[in-house]
Symmetry: C2
Subunit: 219 residues, 2 copies
DNA sequence: GCATTATTTTAATCTTGATTAGAATTTTTG
DNA sequence: CAAAAATTCTAATCAAGATTAAAATAATGC
């Protein structure tokens, strides 16, 4: 018990930054710890999406990494934290997609379309799979609150995008809340039917943004 | 063990059909057993959608019915069967919505729009809540196969509708599979954010079908 | 009201899978 | 290579919640 606590205290959470060349940061090389942890989160997301939360044991996740279930505890405190981290990843993906779309600029419609492309591309790409957030209610209060807040903010940002588009005339007038819900639902559901097929991934990236925004375009 | 098996053998699964008036069937009055079972399925769907599958115990479901968890076993063999029945209900709702839309006739677009209205209306109406099918993989093989087959058929029927609309010119040319996935995702996700608010329900029924089909309309 | 059947409860038991302790192994560092 | 640190494993333990048995209560038909 005491030793374990000690180990936990020592658990690494850093991602070392190494300089190469003459003092200019050219690359963020993740520590072995961080790399393995990432692999674990992807494996977990895969299992959760595939077999459902209750249907996946830590053993399932560990097996995908050729590890023992007990080994996972070197990276997370418990199963709840594993889920939590999967969800953090999921929200980050959405957030990043939104940020880079906004950074790229354009009309409301264009930014929205770019966001959709970014988000979808990430979900079905290398970074995936992204966990479907089906188990938020079983997270610990603190984690739940954090995830819900992130989620709420993302939704708000998306709705702001629609509003902006209506403002600048690039998007038709519509019920913003409902339209947002519809589009988000379609995106969030993707992991339910996409399981890694590369050809399908390409099709999703090329078709989905257009399909989801087709009804919004003005003129 | 033996007695229990006997009880299970006696478990009622009928919905009595009673005649009233002069021999003309005017009403299908469900047995008390069937009514209670329905209440149970709705309670279960509510809990599963709200708290996730792993997060809801049979006690949670039973509490919503002012019952003891053990009492649920009078109606279902185990938790797996409870989930299974929730999913049967969910697929039926979709199937019925599709059938009555087809029966009403019209162009491909019109039928599709009617289907969306029917389905959405049922989901947020009296019959709800409808369970999100997140745990299909943890069903017993036989149940899983059945649900997946029903689900597959429904998807095929929906795609046929889109194809028909493209054929008769009421729907724009599009990637049928992807369009179907997008719309279905948006619908399936509804229980994630709709939790029974009547005002919201009305808005969903009035807005959603239009939003989901806006991009499809030809001309 | 009485007998019978239906429904629910109480009070265990049983199972599964999460979790932990401590040892063993592998990797890194000097 | 040797010591230290990092990572993983083996072998329990533990807990939560599903499940069962049997009794108790409620409803129904006569």
């Amino acid at each position: 018990m005491l030793l374990q606590r000690k180990l936990k205290g020592f658990r690494r959470t850093d991602a070392g930054i190494h300089m190469t060349g003459s003092g200019i940061a050219t690359q963020v090389e993740e520590s072995r710890f961080q790399l393995q942890k990432d692999r674990m989160l992807k494996a977990a997301a895969h299992c959760f999406n595939q077999k459902g939360f209750s249907g996946t044991s830590l053993k399932d996740v560990a097996n995908r990494l050729s590890l023992t279930d007990a080994a996972l505890y070197y990276y997370v405190r418990n199963k709840e934290e594993l889920v939590y981290l999967c969800y953090v990843r999921a929200t980050e993906v959405g957030h990043d997609a939104m940020q880079s779309a906004i950074a790229a600029g354009g009309t409301g419609f264009e930014v929205l379309h770019n966001y959709l492309r970014n988000h979808v591309a990430t979900m079905v790409g290398e970074q995936g799979p992204v966990a479907i957030m089906s188990e938020i209610p079983s997270l610990e209060v603190q984690h739940r609150d954090e995830i819900m807040e992130l989620s709420r903010k993302h939704g708000a940002a998306f709705e702001a995008l629609i509003a902006q588009g209506i403002d600048d005339g690039s998007i038709k007038a519509c019920d913003i809340r409902m339209t947002g819900n519809a589009i988000m639902g379609a995106i969030n559901w993707i992991p339910k039917w996409f399981h890694g097929d590369a050809r399908l991934a390409a099709k999703i990236v090329s078709e989905f943004p257009g399909i989801l925004s087709a009804g919004l375009k003005n003129g």
